[in-house]
Symmetry: C2
Subunit: 384 residues, 2 copies
């Protein structure tokens, strides 16, 4: 199947900001694209050839959408996997595969997958319901502190909580979950692995993530990570091993901890373009969105090296601001060297909501990091 | 007027591949855009918020379209300037101005403008009709060889012909035209000048153009040009002087000749993103399309320097091929280092028709140039 042929169609499940950014690359290659999203106002409704509104978790909706395309990919994991399985049986190329998504959609299964494939990850216990955690603590099977994670989906840090004492448990939903060792770490790292349908691999440089303490959201992504070559190599190998275990096609973003004693532990993965790769639009020879397309279309992989160093700052809604968004001092940051804002186009802001990101590039990573802090101090995402 | 405000609207006259590439940048900034184009299949119909089909040369159509936007820009010069004048009187910000477009639309007026502003350009004579050229030659006022140019619009080398003998004149249309000295030159150079509505200037590096002998179309654009710093400086100053003379807002691409004795002569200008700046998408800190937006929206100018060297190859239809286009060996060139194809999405090819372009970037310009030649030899734009 040649995507340059006029009758080729690419399907994307999800029309959020990731879908929108995939479409920048799609237009460049003039690929015919169909997007399915539950919201009629989805950012990716523009720039695609066919936009359909529908529930990504509804079996029939996804099957009927998928039937009209040749290759189907996603910008969000939370889709109906049974529908993907049906489409695979009917000969639609689905990347990532239904099997991969099924494993990733459930954090307990994801953790078991790592254990089964000897991929280093923090120890954990599974619980059918949060309420069973008390009991485990009482009988000494579990002790504070630990990280509670709901097995099912949570985005932007929802569904994850550090539990230090009994009272932290009280407001948690009573759902299937895991209790994971709280790892004291030096760094949070990520590696994006690209693998195309021919089985060729490439890895992007290791990036370093700084999290916002309260929001549990990435505040800065720094490429390359300011770590030793030995640690970088180690992280790359763990990421490659993980992608290989999934027999993944497309991008796999692998988030990892660098522990106090320089162990590398896999935290979680995303089988798609990822926030930790946004810097690549401005900094890399091949941006992650183009690379994802190259993977799922069976094209040769592009160069994953960087032209320049990059720092990405997430634009999140300011605290105590809810309502129609206003980007204060945008002109000021755009006057700074190497600064490119990306506005996702959400009309409403609320505390810590992801509203966009800003990339800062420079030949010198220290300079880029400096400017990034200035950007962070200057720009305000508030309500009118 | 702040474009970040929800009620701001940007209008673009023309929805061709340039408009489409402007929209990549627009989406990133989440600017609300309206596009007018005569064809319902225009590439930019996707990715804009409102798409209207209409004649860019019809006064009422352009006025009615322009009335609903705050800032109006163009991707093609051939629009109704009287309509733009009316819109300017009604307070719409029009960049480039109607006055600039009026001058540029007529090559005779454009040449007179250079002469009046002491901008170096090749000598020329004006003719109300091509038929009057004979007479001028007979009475010694003009001699072969010279370059015939129709005063009114011609694209991709149409409307331009080197006249070496009487017979070359016979098949020319009998229209308003100029006869320009045929300049023996070492190089064709171009400089893109960016100027925002605050009057701040920045220039992109001087690029070098290699033309296809028959088609009179640019075959390679090389950035930076392989010329001495002295010549580069000279070319930059001429370009700046030209942009200043027009009191231009937006991008102004200034095409120049470097003569045998290292004079710099202005050939022609384009008041918009330009083929000679396509390399900037992959090679520059700020691509020309984002820069054009920054200019017309009154935002600070971005860095015009390059991250890496770039060579752009135009993808034109192969000779003896007319019909449904097929891009042969696309996968092969995509496997080459630093290669990014841009397909404009025209369904039909014909000899020398611009179907897309390919950018090749590399830290080493010589390597980029090497790969560019491989690309040129490998890719074939043919009919099925």
């Amino acid at each position: 199947m040649n995507y340059f042929s006029s009758d080729f169609k690419l399907g994307i499940l999800g029309g959020g900001q990731l879908g929108k950014m995939i479409l920048y690359s799609t237009r460049k290659f003039d690929v015919y694209t169909c997007v399915l999203d539950p919201s009629k106002d989805a950012p990716a409704r523009l720039a695609c050839d066919e936009f359909s509104v529908g529930d990504l978790l509804d079996y029939d909706t996804v099957v009927n959408f998928g039937k009209k395309v040749d290759v189907l990919t996603i910008e969000i994991e939370n889709v109906n996997v049974d529908a993907l399985e049906t489409l695979e049986d009917e000969g639609v190329k689905v990347f990532p595969s239904s099997r991969t998504l099924k494993t990733i959609q459930n954090k307990a299964h994801q953790k078991l997958f790592y254990r089964d494939h000897n991929i280093p990850t923090a120890d954990f216990s599974r619980f059918a319901h949060t309420s069973q955690i008390d009991e485990a603590i009482d009988n000494g099977g579990l002790s504070y502190p630990f990280v509670w994670k709901s097995a099912r989906f949570g985005y932007d840090g929802q569904g994850v909580k550090v539990v230090r004492r009994y009272t932290d448990l009280l407001d948690l939903p009573n759902v299937e979950c895991i209790a994971e060792d709280l790892i004291p770490f030096k760094n949070e790292l990520a590696v994006i692995v690209a693998r195309n349908s021919e089985g060729h691999f490439k890895t992007y440089p290791v990036v370093e993530m700084e999290f916002h303490p309260e929001a549990n959201q990435v505040e800065y992504v720094i490429c390359p990570a300011r770590i030793s070559d030995a640690i970088a190599k180690k992280a790359e190998l763990v990421a490659l091993k993980t992608a290989a275990a999934f027999e993944h096609v497309g991008l796999l973003a692998v988030e990892m901890f660098q522990t106090e004693d320089d162990e590398i532990l896999v935290n979680e993965v995303a089988p798609r373009p990822h926030n930790s790769g946004h810097y690549s639009i401005e900094a890399s020879y091949t941006c992650q969105f183009e690379q994802h397309l190259r993977c799922v279309l069976g094209l040769p992989l592009g160069n994953t090296e960087s032209k320049v160093a990059g720092v990405m700052v997430n634009l999140v809604g300011a605290e105590n601001h809810t309502g129609n968004v206003l980007y204060k001092n945008m002109e000021t940051i755009m006057a700074m060297d190497g600064v490119t804002p990306h506005i996702y186009g959400k009309k409403q802001t609320r505390p810590f909501r992801k509203m966009g990101h800003v990339t800062i590039v420079n030949k010198d990573i220290a300079k880029a990091r400096e400017v990034a802090e200035k950007v962070k101090r200057t720009i305000e995402v508030i309500s009118k």
